[in-house]
Chain length 222, copies 2
Amino acid sequence: LTRDDITAAAFRAVERDELDALTMRGLARELGVTAMALYAHVENKDEILDEIIDRVLRDVGVADVDDGGDWKAWMVETTERLQRVLVRYPALLDRYCRRPVGVPAALERMEAVLDVLRRAGFDDRRCIAAYATIQTYTLGFAALETARQRGLRQVPARAVVELTEASPFYWPTLFASLPASEYPNLVRLSPDLTSFTTDAQFHDGLLAILDGLESERSLEQS
Amino acid sequence: LTRDDITAAAFRAVERDELDALTMRGLARELGVTAMALYAHVENKDEILDEIIDRVLRDVGVADVDDGGDWKAWMVETTERLQRVLVRYPALLDRYCRRPVGVPAALERMEAVLDVLRRAGFDDRRCIAAYATIQTYTLGFAALETARQRGLRQVPARAVVELTEASPFYWPTLFASLPASEYPNLVRLSPDLTSFTTDAQFHDGLLAILDGLESERSLEQS
DNA sequence: ACCTGAACACCGTTCAAGT
DNA sequence: ACCTGAACACCGTTCAAGT
């Protein structure tokens, strides 16, 4: 039993999105060992997750540096890689929400993003502000989409809507069933409120943000 | 023992940010009753949190509708109210990350935001896109700031930096201590990377986003 | 050095039993 | 109707004991 065995088993659990298997006890069971055996190779559970994040981020990487190219295109490509990974592996998002992620691959990624921003003409203050805004949007999107996916399988305790065979999910049907007098916009938009957090929506929102950041940068320089 | 007693006790625990007290067992202890007594008045734990969110959101409200006024000013005011609440009460943020929040006050808030966007000239598709982007940013900011606050008190298992009396926190000192050859931007920006998620940063990022959304709206209409 | 057994101090929730 | 005791099926982690 090695540290790598543990990380590998944990990553398999993360891949299958089996949060039940992603426990010290569940991990140990899969490795044919007791839970306490893990602590000889690993400090605690967060360290296992950090190891996975480091591995995944290294896999994700960043877009190729295309000098003279469009910094926004680079940022879209790089940001969407992280977004896809966070949406696919909710366990990693949970870790991001608990404590700052400071594994080497995360620092390298941050360095690369800041460097592209700097070379795109952002000054120091706006470099940080732009990075913060982009990272914030990415994490928030993954959080909303993950919550949506989890909510699909679960009906709230005091449900407003009855589920039918035609509409077996709660959340998409909620908006359509509200009184139109009180919630005219929700009812009118209800068909599309279902697709609240799609890849296309992430893309459009990200473009709007990058445009906003760029116009702020240009304003300052003129 | 009433449903309101339970909600009130739970809200007191959320206010004190005592996540330990925010358990069925801890709540029951505070109310001088066994944990199982709660289930006579409440379906499950999420229902208690939903009750709190409904109460808090109703308190938070939205900005006054100022007809002929600036929709961006309204949006900033309304969005910052939610941001402040989510940062102050991390337990509510945790609930937002688990499942979509569909309590009445949340629906009313969504309706109000969509209505302001519509009257500001956004078409249906862009109404939803704008709402999604703003909500995404707000949630992501609260998640990053909450993670940062939690991280201040905790040093990772494999710490890169030693803590001293002069710098008793881990994360702010991490960036400054990296090798400047590998991470030039992180080291150069390290003094300001500490204040990654301030109210001012939220404000600036939000303005950039609203500007980006506005210019996309205008582009389409011309 | 590496693993185990038993324990500590917890979770949310169910269910039969009491009043 | 409302509350309790005991139990179920879990958590992460510690620590003394074994090999």
